[in-house]
Symmetry: D2
Subunit: 323 residues, 4 copies
């Protein structure tokens, strides 16, 4: 410990070290699981009859359990008072607070890229150059969000000419399913909710170049379909996978919130480098670093189960067990 | 259940009802404990030798345990999918989501007042007039934050003429303790941290009229002193009390974050009344509704224990047991 | 509150009341979910292509989340000290501690019956006669454990004459699958593990009349098969269902442990009615009231995945999607 | 990983390794805190006016938070199915399950000694000889339970000749406080509770040689006094310390319960070495390894606050602040 080297009495430095080791240990495990998920989803085609999706969902849930633990770990950190921290804080300079490269790697592998990071310059300035390079290298590789987009785009639900004889070669908004769905959706909106029609069209039929969305309109149509018809056996695991992503996003947001508040309690309103406050930076990152919010946002385009279009028999069969 | 009345199949309405009843039940208990705390702290003087502060801290910790439970309760709520919610959502109109009057009452009794509430108009528009009146009525009564301020201002540490023969009648910044403390504090700042001197002066010696701070400079001096010298027996419980307030604030922030994310997952990016999104409103409230942040902010004005001014023997004695 | 009626000061009676109300509220929800599960599983046949099992597993997981909350709720209870409890304990007589009829109803609906209850006489003596009758009435109805047994017995895996031309009409131990499995299993045992052969034969081929087991040998064969081949799509949800039952059992055991320890901390070694101690009774019930332990016990009969018999193609097909 | 070395596919071995590393990391921290507590309490006298007890209680609470985390860590372990475990279980032989020397060291340092360990022979047979020696070495040193006994015996409450002019030189049961207390206590017992008088006399006045109790009668009198009069400032921290010990005991029991159930789910009813089942051993250890149960048991000897003997003014003063 630094405090031992310097002959300074600082009992709590040990906790500080151990808790960070525990975080790094668990981040290693999370990355191990995430890498295996990415590998599995990178296959050009996923065979519904092998275990791929089962394994992907199972490992996603394990990541969720680990993240729950990491949120609770803050309770242990909070047994260190501000004054206890001051006993050894100066010995840690210039390293500041919590700068885990594995955490940033996790964000990058899930799909956060440099452009979307808050305070790009500041972010870079706090890390060692080789670490910045490492994370940027990771950002260039396949991430889970992009893989999800590809996987969703590949879904064949609307292209079977037996199920949809009129749907094969028309624009998405003219496809019999989406034409009916849009009609029912819009008729269910109250006057004050009319603005959602725009949201609907942009999300499901919008041109991808238009905006900075990470999920294409085609992928969004598949995802919405999965939300709606998750009751069919073949859609059960895809649904569970999407929900797991939302939980991972939420848990990371909860972690960031608790971390931000812990830091504020620890160092207070103290102004740091460049007149920035630690809290302000953390808050902005918290607001901006959601990765799967487009997936969550689709829930605004659902309609009640009882109003759902009935699927063609051919499609229903394709979504079920051999029986 | 509404769904039974209307003959609609909506299995999950029961969960929705039960979880809200559970929240209200626990809010009732939290308010019961908070009222008892407020009563105890409202006494014109608190006798250190009776149990008042012990009881206050104990009940604050109970509130903390209950709030932890209420945060976890969101896990149960999240077992309800968006589609399950849509089965009965329309039956609930015009009531929207989570509008607990007891929660707002809790905020008000802790110290949040109408002026500091986010989106005052919108906030009012979502509630029944009698409920708005009720909460406004509560806001007019004594709240915990104001009581803390009074209680802190009453602390006699710097006024004992035996301990501080030169300190009795000077301006705070000339008091021997604070003069020494300020000198040491400023000399411990790095170049890039010089802006903290301003923060120091404003917080500890600032004119109260200047800003919207809720804690007076005098109260802040007492609070900082308690943080610094919590090792003395007499300051132990006051310290625990302040820390409990910070934990309550943090848990409420964690609850708001998780609630916001749950709502977003439930209704997505759907636009609601007045083109406002539910998420935007909740996020702004989350950022703004910290109640004890001035207390947390003081942690930026600490200095390492080993540099602390030594207290006069007379004061040390007054802070200890009869022995 | 009783303390108000009697003019006794007992601040914590409110907590005692509220926490019990919270338990009863959540028990109501758990029973509601459990009843719906029982209804779904009571159907003479479960169609794999409708949502039955999805819904059953989903609601089982909800019960799990609620039970997790109920375990954590003990943290709140434990903020009441023994002395705080004594302020009003005598006012509660003759009611003793925690005697929730809904909890006993839950146990009965899961599958615990009177014969297996610890301390039958004592148990009955603590309840009102009408409550005993109520629980006994519940015990006579279908419970989840028995439904699981029926559902497992109905599994058709080993009876398809196309898949198993030699297996249709032989005794289970001569069925090609089980003959091969038994051979591999026994050859994998170390010398000191030979006693497991007996366990194997008794569990999987044993006569049901022989013992007090609740799952028949036939049901155990299906359950073991599901554990082993859960990777096939059709077995995924049955596996999840069985695992959910184990988690429910574990959570109830965790609750009982924590409750027992809480009671011991509250009333200490005090001897109660009939010289019995509260702790002794609770401990014995804890040891005895596992409901799905036969399902958990089957895990001792697994073999490593890499040694598993390969399934006939016909059966593999039947366990998959139409594709 | 062993599976890599042997060329066996076993994805989950990593989790198994990481989770055990995380446990060892946290055990290291718990032992670090516990050692510091033991050091502080080993002082021949504890000055109420320095921070000793504050620090001891604070670090005990940190241990509690860490143990809470370790209980929750089992949730992560339980994402590993029995079949996943079998992929690599044989590679671990002869090491079995969870045999953490640091955990046993923790038990020993808290106060569990070899004589009280369940299944002494079996316990020893599962460990490496040098580890057995290490733990036995630890058992010979001062443990927390014995320190508590010494510390409690040293309490001077009943020996002040000013406060108790008639109490100084009589047998404990004739001391004015205990004579009055015993009289009130026994008169508060119902007919069916008369057996508690025996418990009372044995615990508070019993000869130490008589039984295997770890706390002497003298220490028990002090502990009971602290429970009863915790409202006095000087008794607040001693009370908090005792309660922390009870929570540590409870959390360790909860951990053992959850661990036992996890093991049972993992390896089922499989019979192991010497025909013993893993579950049976774990259950017996769970029942036997409570360390502070004598402290918890004292709660059976309390009486309602309103009936408590009033303390002599001299004593009251000694228990308070200088004021």
């Amino acid at each position: 410990m630094e405090s031992d080297k310097k002959g300074v009495e600082a009992h709590d430095e040990m906790l500080f070290i151990v808790i960070h080791q525990a975080y790094e240990l668990w981040f290693k495990q999370v990355l191990y699981e995430l890498d295996s998920i990415t590998d599995l989803l990178s296959k050009p085609e996923i065979n519904d009859n092998d275990q791929t999706l089962q394994v992907v969902v199972h490992r996603s849930r394990r990541i969720i359990e680990i993240l729950r633990l990491l949120v609770d770990q803050i309770n242990v950190m909070e047994t260190m008072s501000s004054l206890d921290f001051l006993d050894f804080r100066d010995l840690l300079r210039p390293a500041s607070g919590f700068q885990s490269i594995q955490w940033k790697e996790l964000e990058a592998k899930l799909g956060l890229n440099y452009e979307n990071r808050h305070g790009k310059q500041y972010y870079v300035s706090q890390l060692r150059p080789e670490d910045v390079d490492h994370v940027k290298g990771v950002e260039k590789k396949t991430n889970l969000l992009d893989l999800l987009n590809v996987w969703l785009e590949r879904m064949p639900y609307f292209e079977d000419p037996n199920a949809w004889p009129e749907g094969a070669n028309v624009k998405p908004q003219d496809h019999p399913f989406w034409a009916e769905y849009r009609k029912k959706y819009t008729s269910g909106l109250l006057d004050i909710e009319q603005a959602n029609i725009d949201l609907f069209d942009k999300t499901l039929f919008g041109k991808d170049e238009d905006d900075k969305r990470r999920l294409s309109a085609k992928a969004c149509r598949s995802a919405l379909f999965i939300y709606l018809y998750k009751g069919y056996p073949l859609l059960h695991l895809p649904y569970e996978l999407m929900v797991s992503m939302l939980e991972i996003d939420e848990l990371m947001a909860t972690w960031r919130t608790r971390h931000m508040n812990m830091v504020f309690r620890m160092i207070g309103a103290r102004v740091g480098t460049g007149n920035s406050s630690g809290r302000g930076y953390l808050k902005a990152a918290l607001d901006k670093h959601y990765i799967f919010n487009e997936l969550a946002g689709l829930n605004g385009l659902l309609m009640p189960r009882r109003d759902l279009p009935v699927l063609p028999t051919e499609l229903e069969k394709a979504l079920g067990f051999r029986g």
